[in-house]
């Protein structure tokens, strides 16, 4: 009986540690993006093929990091000859970018 219970404990230990590893994996695979444009946006991630729906400026969504890389490059606008033009404006920004910078430092 004693040996059984010890083996059960071991298996439980293994399960717990496995779960922890999985959680870490999930959190590293998604990043939170915020939409900076005033539109309802349906966008398909180029790497995963997932459909992401954003509902207006300021809407936040967790996005697969493989898709996020491309999405952060998405830009539009810019009036070439306008003195006020600030160049093409991005659609997305990373949420808590400042915090990420601090972690890297």
């Amino acid at each position: 009986m004693e040996s059984r219970s010890s083996s059960e404990r071991d298996s439980k230990r293994v399960k717990v540690s496995d779960t922890k590893v999985e959680t870490k994996k999930e959190s590293s695979e998604t990043v939170r993006l915020i939409l900076l444009r005033d539109l309802k946006l349906n966008i398909i991630g180029k790497s995963t093929g997932k459909l992401y729906r954003f509902f207006g400026a300021g809407y936040q969504l967790d996005v697969d990091s493989k898709d996020a890389e491309e999405m952060l490059k998405k830009r539009s606008g810019a009036c070439g000859g306008c003195p006020s033009s600030i160049g093409p404006t991005p659609y997305f920004d990373l949420v808590a970018l400042a915090q990420l910078h601090i972690l890297k430092l």
Partner: protein, 209 residues
């Protein structure tokens, strides 16, 4: 003897030989957001600061720009001497311009009083339906008059709406032009009485020292 040239005596504030030319840039933002200076050290409310929830919209390629005042004007007429004074009250201040830049639609839809834009690659769509009368915008219009040193003037309007019907002219060989675009600045009762409609500013380090 100053009077030889006809100059009056006493304290005189003379004007500068400096002239403004061309239209300012026009930026607008939902009036729910706070202005950049809310207020500044002198008590003035002006400037815009874009956020994710309240982005700033840039009006691209405006032409025929003008800024006009609208007043209710009534004379004080006395039967004994005629008009003795005039009572004036400001109703609104109005930016009028034509527009030649139509993209992106998330900017244009505000100007044409359209609905929310939906984007699904490769299309952008917005509806023309009932006008949302509860949308108000802050407007910031700076004009740099000395690009070497960055001297500029600016106009800030607190609470504006796009009013009046627009017309889009589609002539052969000329760019599409939306005419009759009017940004009307109403009184903002949350601002000081002297800045209810907005303010005018100038930044010039060589003159204002």
């Amino acid at each position: 003897m100053a009077l030889v040239t006809g100059t009056p005596l006493g304290t005189i504030t003379s004007q500068e030989d400096l002239y403004l030319e061309g239209g300012p840039s026009i930026y607008f933002q939902d009036a729910t957001a706070s202005p950049l200076f809310n207020p500044d050290g002198d008590g003035f409310y002006w400037g815009l600061s874009g956020t994710a929830t309240y982005p700033i919209y840039d009006v691209g390629c405006p032409t025929n720009m003008s800024l006009a005042d609208n007043l209710t004007v009534n004379d004080v007429l006395c039967d004994t001497v005629g008009v003795k004074s005039t009572i004036q009250q400001r109703n609104y201040v109005e930016f009028t311009f034509d527009l030649q830049s139509f993209f992106p639609f998330d900017n244009l839809r505000h100007i044409l009083k359209g609905g929310a834009v939906t984007e699904t690659a490769p299309t952008q769509k917005f509806g023309l339906g009932t006008v949302n009368n509860s949308l108000y915008y802050m407007v910031y219009a700076p004009k740099v008059y000395d690009t070497d040193v960055g001297d500029y003037v600016w106009i800030h309007l607190n609470r504006c709406q796009f009013v009046d019907p627009w017309t889009i002219n589609m002539s052969f060989g000329t760019p599409w032009t939306a005419t009759g675009i009017k940004l009307r600045a109403f009184a903002d009762t949350n601002k000081p009485e002297t800045q209810k409609f907005g303010m005018f500013g100038r930044a010039d380090a060589s003159v204002i020292t």
